[in-house]
C-alpha cells in the first residue's frame, strides 16, 4: 500500500512537472476550410455606423484562429450615410462596409454601390441559402450587393415569470391583449404595457403601428404604390394602425406618462423592463439585442432574475405579425486592397453557424432560417409564414416608414387625431 502510494506520488510529481511545459492545444475550425494561405498577412477594415460592434469583433477573433496574421478592425464613420461615398472614393477605403436596404435603389448611394461586389457570384462561395429568403435584396439586375448579418423586427418583451406569478397567459389575440391588460391593471399594474415615447425614433407607437400598416399594404399593391409615392390618399391605410395605438393608450394598456419617464430608446427601455414590474415592454428587436449585456448591469434583475421572451404584439384576432427586415447588411468593397481575403472572411461569416454565433454574442436577431436557437426569440419562430412580412421584399420604402412613424408618434402623444394623421399622410418629415 505504502509502496503504491509512493509510486503514484512520484508519477504525479513527474506528470505535473511535465505538464508545466505543455502547450494548450491549438483550436481548429471544423466547418470552415480555408481557401487561402493561412499565413497571409494583411489588414481588413469594416466600416459602419455602430459605435461598437463587439459581435463582429468576436468573429474577427474566430477568423484569426484560422488566419492569425490577418488584422481585422472595425471603424465607426461619423456621418455615415454622407461620408460613405467619400470614404470609398479615398485611397484607404474600407474593405467591408455597412449597407442598408433603404440604400438600395437610392440614387444617393449609387456611387457607393459602384464600389460594391456582387455577393451572389458563385465563385465567392457564400452560403446565401442559410439566410431567410425574404431578407436577401436583389437589385434590378439580380445582383446581391449586400447580405444581412442581423435582422430586426417589432414586438414586445414579455416578463413570463410575472404572467405566471399572476396566473395569466401571454395574450395571443388583440382581445386577449386588452383583457390581460385589464387584469394587470386590476392587480395594481398601472401600465401593463410600456415603451419609449420621448422621441419618434423607435417609439412604441411606431412599433405598434408599423406592422399593422405594412400588413395592410401587403394585401393591397395599389395602396402600397400610393403609400410609397407618399400620396395623401394612402393616409387612410394608416387608420387601423393609428387606432390601435390610440386604443392601447385610451384603454389604459399603456400609461403614457409612465412611458415618458424612460429617457432613451435603448438602455433605459431595457433597464425599466428589468425592474420586473412591467408585464410587456414594446420595443424593436434591436433593443432586445441589448438585454443580455444589461442583465448584469441591472441591480433589480441581478437581485430577482426572471424569464423573458420577445414576442409579436397580437394586433389582430389572428395574432401578431413577424415583420422580418434586415438590420445591418454587409457589402464588400471590390476596390479594396485585399479583396480575396475580404471575400474569404465573408465566406467564413455568411454561414448558419457564424451568423448564429455572432447573433448570440449580443442577442441580436439572426438572419438565418432557424430562429429557435435563442429562447428569447423563439416566439417569432412560431409565427406562420402567411403572417411573416418582409418589407424589403414587399417594396416598402424608407419615406413610407417615416410617415407612419411620425403619424403614430404624434397620435400617440395626442398631438394630432387619427383623422388628422390620415389626412396629413405624405407631409410628415
Amino acid at each position: 500500500m505504502k509502496k503504491r502510494f509512493s509510486i503514484i506520488l512520484c508519477i504525479s510529481l513527474v506528470v505535473s512537472l511535465v505538464a508545466c511545459g505543455a502547450k494548450e492545444p491549438v483550436k481548429t475550425e471544423g466547418g470552415f476550410a480555408p481557401a487561402l494561405d493561412t499565413n497571409t498577412e494583411c489588414s481588413i477594415t469594416v466600416a459602419g455606423n455602430y459605435d461598437n460592434f463587439e459581435a463582429l469583433e468576436a468573429e474577427f477573433d474566430r477568423f484569426n484562429e484560422i488566419y492569425p496574421n490577418v488584422q481585422l478592425s472595425y471603424v465607426k464613420l461619423d456621418d455615415y450615410s454622407n461620408i460613405l461615398g467619400t470614404v470609398l472614393e479615398g485611397a484607404d477605403g474600407p474593405d467591408i462596409f455597412f449597407s442598408y436596404a433603404s440604400m438600395s435603389g437610392n440614387e444617393k448611394y449609387d456611387a457607393v454601390f459602384a464600389h460594391a461586389e456582387d455577393l451572389s457570384d458563385a465563385a465567392l462561395g457564400l452560403d446565401l441559402d442559410c439566410l431567410r429568403p425574404g431578407l436577401i435584396n436583389h437589385d434590378g439586375e439580380g445582383r446581391v450587393m449586400m447580405v444581412p448579418v442581423f435582422s430586426r423586427s417589432y414586438g414586445m418583451l414579455v416578463n413570463n415569470d410575472l404572467f405566471e406569478k399572476e396566473g395569466l397567459s401571454v395574450p395571443a389575440t388583440w382581445t386577449e391583449l386588452l383583457n390581460v391588460c385589464e387584469e394587470f391593471r386590476k392587480r395594481g399594474y398601472t401600465s401593463p404595457m410600456m415603451g419609449y415615447s420621448q422621441g419618434s425614433s423607435s417609439c412604441f407607437m411606431y412599433t405598434v403601428a408599423y406592422p399593422l400598416f405594412v400588413a395592410g399594404l401587403a394585401k393591397d399593391p395599389e395602396a402600397l404604390a400610393l403609400a410609397n409615392d407618399l400620396d395623401a390618399a394612402a393616409g387612410e391605410y394608416m387608420r387601423p394602425a393609428l387606432e390601435a395605438v390610440e386604443q392601447l393608450i385610451q384603454s389604459g394598456c399603456i400609461d403614457l406618462s409612465a412611458c415618458d419617464q424612460i429617457e432613451d430608446n435603448y438602455t433605459q427601455v431595457i433597464l425599466r423592463f428589468f425592474e420586473g414590474d412591467v408585464p410587456m415592454m414594446i420595443c424593436a428587436g434591436d433593443t432586445v439585442s441589448g438585454t443580455k449585456k444589461r442583465e448584469s448591469q441591472s441591480e433589480a434583475f441581478t437581485a430577482a432574475p426572471f424569464k423573458y421572451t420577445f414576442a409579436p404584439i397580437p394586433l389582430t384576432e389572428e395574432g401578431g405579425y413577424f415583420i422580418d427586415s434586415p438590420s445591418v447588411e454587409f457589402s464588400v468593397n471590390k476596390d479594396g486592397d485585399h479583396v480575396d481575403m475580404t471575400n474569404e472572411f465573408m465566406r467564413f461569416l455568411i454561414t448558419d453557424s457564424e451568423l448564429k454565433e455572432m447573433a448570440s454574442v449580443k442577442r441580436l436577431v439572426t438572419p438565418t432560417r432557424d430562429l429557435s436557437f435563442d429562447a428569447v426569440y423563439a416566439p417569432f419562430g412560431q409565427v406562420p409564414a402567411d403572417r411573416t412580412i418582409s418589407p424589403e421584399v414587399l417594396g416598402i420604402t424608407d419615406p413610407l416608414t417615416v410617415q407612419i412613424r411620425i403619424a403614430a408618434y404624434q397620435v400617440g402623444k395626442g398631438e394630432i387625431t387619427v383623422d388628422d394623421a390620415v389626412t396629413m399622410y405624405g407631409t410628415f418629415e
Partner: protein, 939 residues
C-alpha cells in the same frame, strides 16, 4: 513503518524545498513583474509626455494660424474666410494635414477646407452638421499651452480618421462687412499620431496605445480594444460587480497606474494608464498582453523543474536503498523471531522439565517434613525445602521476566487480606533472617485497612524480592520491614500503601544505582558471587510496580545499608484496621505448629490424572490428612473411563501426557454427555508457567489452573474453592484429638514425658505411639553404645550418640532427658570429659529408667499376627542385591523398583533388616544413586 519514517520526511523535505523554490521564484517573479510593470508604467508616462508634447506642438501650430488671422483682424485688416484658408494652405507643410474654417453659428456648421473633397474636384466646402465632435467647444481657449482638441472622427472631406486642434478666429464676413467668429481646425490624421509611437515597437512589440476621454470613449483606439468605449469593453470581457466597475472607472480617470484585465479572448493583459498633464480630459492607455511582460518567469519554472527532478531522483534512490535495507532487516527480523520462538520453546520446555521433578522433590520433601520426627532429617528436609524454593524462585524470576519482555504481564486485581499478605511475607523473611542471625524488625501501622483490592500476588512478589534482597546482602545487623498508609485526599475509596524495607547491609555505590534495575545486572559481582540470584529481582519488582502505577525508590549509603520503598495506591474494601500486627505475629510464632490441614472432606471424591506415578503419590500424600477419597489415573483414557462412571467433586488433569494430553482428554470428557461429572470442575495441572498459559488453559475449557510443583497451601485452597460446601468440614470444626485420648494411661502418667509435646511433634497419637516404640526399641542398644564409647574414651562418638539421644528424647516429649543430653552434648563438644565422667552415668540411668517406664508398650507379637512370610535365604538376598546393583548401574530404575519390591515378600533377617529398609526407602524416594552405596555398606 520504517519505510514511512524515511519516505514521509523525504516527501516533506521535498515539499518544503519545492514550496520554498516556488515561493522564492514567485516572490522573485513578482519583484521582476513589478519592476517590469514599473518600467512599463514609466514608458506610459514617456509616451504620455511625447503625445502631450506632440499635441501641444500641433495646438501651437493651430494657434499660430489663428494668431496670424486674428492679428490681421486686430490690425484692422481682417481676412475673409477664403483669405484665411488661403494663408493656411500656404502655411501648412504636410499635405496630410488640412485646415478647416467653419462657422458654428451656421446651422450646417459649414465652412471651407484647405483641401478639396475626395472624388469631387474643386469642392472645398466642408460641413460638420452630422459630426458630433463639439461637445466641449465651450472650453476652447486661446490661452497658450491649452490644447483644444476633438476626439478622433471621420474627416468629412476625405473620410480619414482624424483629430482636430481648434482655436477661434475673427474673419471678415464679405456679405455684411462685419467680423465673424469662425472655428479654425487643424485636422491631423490619426495615423500621424500613431507614427509618433513607432519607437515603442522595439521594446514592446505588441503594445497598443489608446486615448480615451473622461467617458471612456476612444479618441484613439488600439486594435485589440473592442467596443467604442473602453469601460464598456472592460465590463464586457471582465466579470466584475457594478461597484468594481465604478471603482475602475474612477481609478483610470483619476490618476496614473496599471491594472490587469482580460481581453476579448480571455487573456490577461496589462493596461497602464495616465492622464495627460495638459489635457486633463483625456487619458492615455497602454495595452499589452501580460505574457509579453512576464516571459522571464520561464527561467524560474526551469529551475523548479530541475530541482524537482533532482529531489525525485533522490527520493527514488532513498526508496530503493530503503527497500534493500528493509529486505535485509526483514530477514534479520525473521531470524530474530525464530530465535525468540526458540527461546520461548526453551523456556516452556525448561519450565516443564524443571518443574516436573521439582514437584516430586518438594512434594515428597513436604511429606518428610510432615511425617519425620528425626530432627536431623527434618533439618535436612528443611534445607531441601529452602533450596527447592530458591530454585523455584530463580525459575519464576526468569519466567516473570520473559512475561514482562513479551508484554504479557497482566495485573489481576482481587480483594485480599493485608494481614494474610503480611503473614506470608513475615513468615518467609523471619525464617531467613533467623537462619542468617539477623534481627528482623516489623513496623506495621495498625490503622491499615484489613481488606484491600489489588494484585495481591504481584505485591507480595515485589515485597518478597525486596526483603529477600535485603537479607541476601546483609551479613549482620537487621532488616526492618515497614508498612504504613496515607489517605488520598480526592479518593474516598483508596489508600496509599507506603512500604519500605531497610537493611544494614552492604549498601550500593552511587555509581551503581543506575544498574540496579537493569536485567541480569548484579552489582559488585565479585564481592557477591556467592549470593544466589539471577539479577532479575529488582528489574521484575520495578516492572510490576510501574505496571501498578508506582515505582521503587532506593536510598543507600555504601557500607551502611539501603532503604527500598514504594508507595502504592490500593482500593479499600474493608476499612477495619489490621490492629497490632507485631503482637499478633509474636503470639503466632509461639503457637506455630507443624502442618495442619485446613479442612477435612472424607466424603469428597477427587480424580487426579498424571502420567508420572510419583506425582500421583505426592498429590495423594499431600491430601492424605484431608481424608479426601482420591482416585488416580496415569493416562487420559484411564481418566475418561473413570470419569464416565464415577462422580468426582473435582478433577485434576495433567497437561503434558503421552498419547492423549490434558487438553484432548478434557475435550473428550466435555464431549461426553450424561456422565456423573457434567458439572465437575476440571483443574489443569501443569509445569508450564510461562506467559499466556493461563489464558490458554481457560480458553481450552479448564476451570482453573495449578502449576507444579504443587504448593500444598494452594492445593488445599483450590479444593476449598471447588469442593461442595456440604462435604467440607473446616479444620476448626474437626474435633481436636485429645492429646491423651489414644495414648495408654501409662504414658500419660509418666513424669519424664510430656505427652502433649510429643503429640505435637509427631502430629498424631498413632505416629507418637509408633515413635515411642521405636525409641524404646533402640533405647537399650543406644545406652549400651554410649557406655561402650565412653568406656573406650571415644568422646566424639559418645557426643554423637548423646546428640541423637537429645533429639529423640525431645521428639517424644522427654524434655528433661533431652535437656540433660543437650548439656552433655555441649560438654562433649567442648571436650569437657570431667562433666561427662560425672554426669554421663546419670544420663544413662535416666535413659534406662525411661526405657523401663515405656516397656509396657513393647507388646509381644500376636501369634496369629506373626509374620507368615518366609525368611529370605542369604543366597537369595545376595542375588537380589546383585540384581539391584546391576539395574542401578544400567540406570534401569523401573527394574530397580521392581526387584526391590520383591524383597517385601520375605521376612528379612534382623542383621539385614535395616539395609533392606534403607534400600526400599531409597526406592520410594527415587534416591536410586544411594542404593549401590547402601548395598556395599559404604553409606
Amino acid at each position: 513503518m520504517k519505510k514511512a519514517l524515511v519516505i514521509i520526511p523525504n516527501l516533506l523535505i521535498m515539499g518544503l524545498i519545492l514550496a520554498f523554490i516556488v515561493g522564492y521564484a514567485n516572490s522573485k517573479a513578482k519583484e521582476s513583474d513589478r519592476s517590469v510593470i514599473d518600467a512599463y508604467e514609466k514608458m506610459t508616462l514617456t509616451v504620455d509626455q511625447i503625445i502631450a508634447n506632440y499635441l501641444e506642438d500641433e495646438q501651437h501650430l493651430c494657434d499660430i494660424w489663428s494668431n496670424y488671422v486674428n492679428r490681421s483682424a486686430e490690425a484692422g485688416t481682417p481676412m475673409t474666410a477664403e483669405e484665411a484658408i488661403s494663408y493656411i494652405r500656404k502655411a501648412k507643410i504636410s499635405p496630410e494635414i488640412s485646415g478647416h474654417l467653419i462657422f458654428m453659428d451656421d446651422p450646417e456648421r459649414s465652412g471651407i477646407s484647405t483641401t478639396e473633397k475626395t472624388g469631387q474636384s474643386g469642392d472645398y466646402r466642408v460641413s460638420y452638421k452630422n459630426v458630433s465632435i463639439f461637445e466641449n467647444l465651450d472650453s476652447v481657449s486661446d490661452v497658450d499651452g491649452v490644447v483644444n482638441i476633438t476626439r478622433a472622427y471621420t474627416n468629412p472631406m476625405n473620410g480619414i480618421q482624424s483629430i482636430a486642434f481648434m482655436n477661434y478666429v475673427q474673419v471678415l464676413d464679405p456679405e455684411t462687412g462685419n467680423l465673424r467668429t469662425g472655428l479654425l481646425m487643424r485636422v491631423v490624421p490619426i495615423s500621424i499620431l500613431e507614427q509618433k509611437l513607432v519607437f515603442l515597437k522595439g521594446e514592446y512589440e505588441n503594445v497598443e496605445i489608446s486615448i480615451i476621454d473622461q467617458d471612456g470613449d476612444y479618441v484613439i483606439r488600439g486594435k485589440s480594444l473592442k467596443n467604442s468605449n473602453f469601460f464598456e469593453y472592460y465590463r464586457s470581457y471582465n466579470d466584475v460587480s457594478i461597484e468594481e466597475y465604478e471603482r475602475v472607472k474612477r481609478e483610470i480617470i483619476g490618476g496614473a497606474g496599471s491594472m490587469t484585465i482580460q481581453n476579448s479572448k480571455g487573456e490577461d493583459c496589462l493596461i497602464s494608464y495616465t492622464p495627460f498633464e495638459t489635457l486633463r480630459v483625456w487619458c492615455l492607455l497602454a495595452y499589452i498582453p501580460k505574457d509579453d511582460l512576464v516571459e522571464s518567469r520561464v527561467v524560474d519554472w526551469l529551475l523548479l523543474g530541475v530541482v524537482s527532478l533532482g529531489l525525485l531522483g533522490l527520493l527514488i534512490f532513498n526508496f530503493v536503498t530503503l527497500m534493500i535495507y528493509n529486505r535485509k532487516l526483514a530477514e534479520a527480523a525473521e531470524e530474530a523471531r525464530q530465535a525468540n520462538e526458540a527461546k520461548s520453546y526453551f523456556l516452556s520446555t525448561m519450565s516443564h522439565d524443571i518443574r516436573t521433578p521439582m514437584n516430586a522433590i518438594l512434594g515428597l520433601n513436604e511429606m518428610v517434613l510432615r511425617d519425620s520426627q528425626d530432627e536431623a532429617i527434618l533439618g535436612y528436609s528443611e534445607n531441601i525445602r529452602t533450596a527447592g524454593n530458591t530454585l523455584l524462585g530463580l525459575i519464576n524470576d526468569i519466567l516473570d521476566f520473559s512475561k514482562i519482555e513479551a508484554g504479557k504481564m497482566e495485573i489481576v486485581t482481587v480483594d485480599y487480606s493485608f494481614v494474610s499478605v503480611l503473614n506470608d511475607l513475615v513468615n518467609m523473611v523471619q525464617k531467613k533472617t533467623e537462619d542468617k542471625g539477623l534481627v528482623f524488625h516489623l513496623d506495621i501501622d495498625s490503622g491499615i485497612p484489613s481488606i484491600l483490592h489489588g494484585d495481591e500476588i504481584r505485591i507480595k512478589q515485589v515485597i518478597t524480592n525486596i526483603l529477600t534482597n535485603a537479607v541476601k546482602y546483609t551479613k549482620e545487623g537487621s532488616v526492618t520491614f515497614s508498612a504504613g498508609y496515607e489517605k488520598i485526599l480526592d479518593k474516598t475509596d483508596a489508600v496509599l500503601l507506603k512500604i519500605s524495607v531497610a537493611d544494614t547491609g552492604i549498601g550500593i555505590k552511587s555509581e551503581d544505582m543506575n544498574r540496579l534495575f537493569q536485567a541480569f545486572e548484579r552489582i559488585e559481582e565479585k564481592r557477591n558471587r556467592n549470593i544466589e540470584g539471577t539479577g532479575l529481582g529488582m528489574t521484575i519488582a520495578q516492572s510490576f510496580l510501574v505496571k501498578m502505577g508506582s515505582h521503587l525508590q532506593v536510598k543507600s549509603v555504601y557500607g551502611e545499608g539501603s532503604v527500598f520503598s514504594f508507595d502504592l495506591e490500593q482500593k479499600v474494601v474493608k476499612w477495619d484496621p489490621v490492629g497490632d500486627y507485631e503482637e499478633a505475629f509474636r503470639l503466632s510464632l509461639k503457637e506455630r505448629q507443624c502442618y495442619r490441614e485446613k479442612f477435612t472432606a472424607p466424603l469428597a471424591n477427587v480424580l487426579v490424572v498424571d502420567d508420572t506415578p510419583v506425582n500421583l503419590t505426592v498429590f495423594s500424600s499431600l491430601l492424605s490428612r484431608t481424608k479426601i477419597q482420591i482416585d488416580t489415573a496415569e493416562s487420559g483414557d484411564e481418566a475418561i473411563a473413570l470419569y464416565k462412571n464415577t462422580h468426582y467433586d473435582a478433577v485434576f488433569l495433567d497437561h503434558m501426557m503421552p498419547d492423549k494430553d490434558g487438553i484432548e482428554t478434557l475435550a473428550e470428557m466435555r464431549g461426553l454427555k450424561g456422565t456423573p461429572n457434567d458439572a465437575t470442575p476440571v483443574i489443569c495441572l501443569t509445569a508450564n508457567a510461562i506467559s499466556g498459559m493461563r489464558e490458554m488453559y481457560i480458553n481450552a475449557g479448564f476451570d482453573d489452573y495449578m502449576t507444579k510443583p504443587i504448593d500444598p497451601d494452594r492445593l488445599e485452597g483450590i479444593l476449598l474453592q471447588y469442593l461442595p460446601e456440604e462435604k467440607v468440614v473446616p479444620a476448626a470444626e474437626v474435633p481436636e484429638e485429645e492429646p491423651d485420648s489414644a495414648l495408654p494411661e501409662s504414658i500419660l502418667h509418666l513424669e519424664a514425658i510430656d505427652a502433649g509435646t510429643g503429640l505435637r511433634h509427631c502430629g498424631s497419637a498413632e505416629a507418637y505411639m509408633e515413635t515411642l516404640k521405636k525409641y524404646l526399641d533402640t533405647a537399650t542398644k543406644n545406652a549400651d553404645d554410649i557406655e561402650g564409647f565412653w568406656a573406650a574414651k571415644d568422646v566424639k562418638n559418645t557426643t554423637i550418640k548423646v546428640h541423637a539421644l537429645k533429639s529423640t528424647s525431645r521428639i517424644i516429649g522427654a524434655l528433661a532427658l533431652g535437656d540433660f543430653a543437650a548439656r552433655l552434648e555441649k560438654a562433649g563438644d567442648e571436650g569437657d570429659t570431667d562433666t561427662l565422667e560425672r554426669e554421663l552415668p546419670k544420663l544413662i540411668a535416666q535413659y534406662r529408667k525411661l526405657a523401663e517406664d515405656l516397656a509396657p508398650l513393647q507388646v509381644p507379637a500376636d501369634p496369629e499376627g506373626e509374620d507368615a512370610r518366609p525368611v529370605i535365604s542369604d543366597e537369595r538376598l545376595k542375588e537380589t542385591y546383585g540384581e539391584i546393583s546391576e539395574a542401578c548401574a544400567g540406570f534401569d530404575f523401573d527394574r530397580v523398583e521392581q526387584i526391590a519390591k520383591t524383597l517385601e515378600k520375605y521376612r528379612i533377617p534382623e542383621e539385614e533388616a535395616e539395609r533392606v529398609e534403607a534400600i526400599l526407602k531409597a526406592v520410594d524416594n527415587f534416591d536410586y544413586e544411594m542404593i549401590p552405596g547402601l548395598i556395599t555398606g559404604e553409606e
